[in-house]
Symmetry: C2
Subunit: 277 residues, 2 copies
């Protein structure tokens, strides 16, 4: 009998075991383990469950079998943990793009033709500069509205006008990157304007999680049982990606982030485990 | 000794008795009554009071001396009472502009070049059409941000592009009308784009309250002791301005608004009193 589950957006959909197995494989679990997970979810799932509850079943099984893979399943939550302010999310997105060959910077306030603007990230590749607006939402169900998208486009236009009169650097592309989703009319408007729109599920062929998973660009907030203060200290110390930690000397991590050396050593080890999983 | 008071925005400023007398005169009180009000406020005001408390002193005095004038002092609150949804505020703004010779309509959804848009009011005068975004805020201290202003401008541009390809009517001007205030950079951006920006205190020489006061275009929510349901019924019945009520036959008001004839008669009488004050 088909089972209906409730998504974080409140929408209902049929439980799709293939999707569950796909998420499992994406996190790096073996085909065999994902098969087990699929069978188990099929048995335990009940009509009316939320996707969160389904995900907890998956998490429970993988945690027992392969803890580092379970940690990687937490990407969605880990990104939310970069908040509540948007600044660390901007830093993170800059690092993700840097891994794809973009020259990124978190620019100072830029001067447009009409007024000044806070641009989250500037990214340059092959001589083309992109202005990137980063929208961190604390619940995945909160959509990026067309108002957000239109105001981003208006900001871009003002900066293009500003650069034409020498007030700011030349910018060719306008991006919005979010951990959430775009409303339907947001996408319609953004595409019409040739904006690059990157969200949790858009574009379908290569959404934000794919950019992250393909190169293992996980944020350090993926580390399990880490205190929020320690996360902040590590990011302030320049350790934004798990990879930064996994390849660093623990005493340098402790020094740069101003945390106890024991904590630093523990973090480095955990980061290595997750990335090797 | 100068007395400092706290504005609804949280800002502090020196109590200015001339400003108090000006508000009193604006509501239609005699110069003599306003002089009394000024003296009384000077005596009762204490350091640290809010503008709301000062306003209550004024209200108290005028209520005793001239109740209909006191009602007119309530304009700020009366407009907020048009909410919580924005639709009645849009209707009201359309009526205010109509009194200045604009041909106004609350249009259906319009088709821009990229997507569809909900435009609050379309206003045409001397062959020039304006798209008007109405922003009702429930607290005067909440500013209209540059994000609001930029998204309004982007919407306007999409409609201009839409009209160029025959998808929607031709629109020449972009307005924002609010019962609140604009942030500093909102104004800077809007002026740079030649937008018409009308708020509680902008433009200084002729802000929204002046448009209303000069022609006595008060909303029916100015009627004292009126139930919210009755207000809604009257507006739904087409009675948006006090003037609509004051010049109507009570039994027609009752019929169109689906309210008891006694209530209608009472409303009509009160509306006449306030307008004649």
């Amino acid at each position: 009998m088909p089972i209906t589950i409730t998504k974080s957006t409140g929408q209902k959909e049929l439980l799709n075991i293939e999707k569950v197995k796909h998420a499992c494989r994406r996190a790096g679990a073996s085909a065999q383990l994902c098969e087990v997970v699929g069978q188990e979810v099929k048995q335990q799932a009940k009509d009316g469950m939320t996707t969160k509850e389904i995900y907890e079943i998956v998490q429970g099984i993988i945690s027992k079998e392969h803890p580092p893979v379970a940690a990687r399943l937490n990407l969605k939550d880990a990104i939310i943990k970069l908040g509540p302010l948007g600044y660390d999310f901007e830093k993170y997105i800059a690092r993700v793009l840097a891994a794809y060959g973009y020259n990124t910077e978190l620019p100072p306030i830029l001067q447009g033709a009409c007024t000044t603007h806070e641009v989250d990230v500037l990214a340059v590749k092959d001589g083309r500069a992109a202005m990137i607006e980063c929208k961190l939402r604390h619940e995945i169900g909160i959509f990026i509205s067309i108002k957000d998208t239109m105001s981003t486009w208006a900001r871009f236009l003002d900066l293009v006008d500003g650069s034409a009169i020498g007030k700011c650097p030349h910018i060719e592309e306008c991006w919005i990157v979010t951990n959430s989703r775009f409303s339907h009319d947001s996408i319609q408007y953004g595409h019409c304007k040739n904006m690059v729109m990157l969200s949790w599920n858009h574009p379908k062929e290569r959404p934000l999680p794919a950019w992250i998973d393909d190169k293992g660009l996980y944020p350090i907030t993926l580390l399990p049982q880490l205190e929020h203060n320690t996360e902040k200290s590590l990011i302030d110390g320049g350790f934004v990606l798990l990879h930064d930690l996994a390849t660093a000397d623990p005493s340098l991590v402790a020094q740069k982030s101003n945390i106890p050396e024991e904590t630093a050593r523990d973090c480095v080890k955990k980061a290595q485990l997750i990335l090797q999983a």
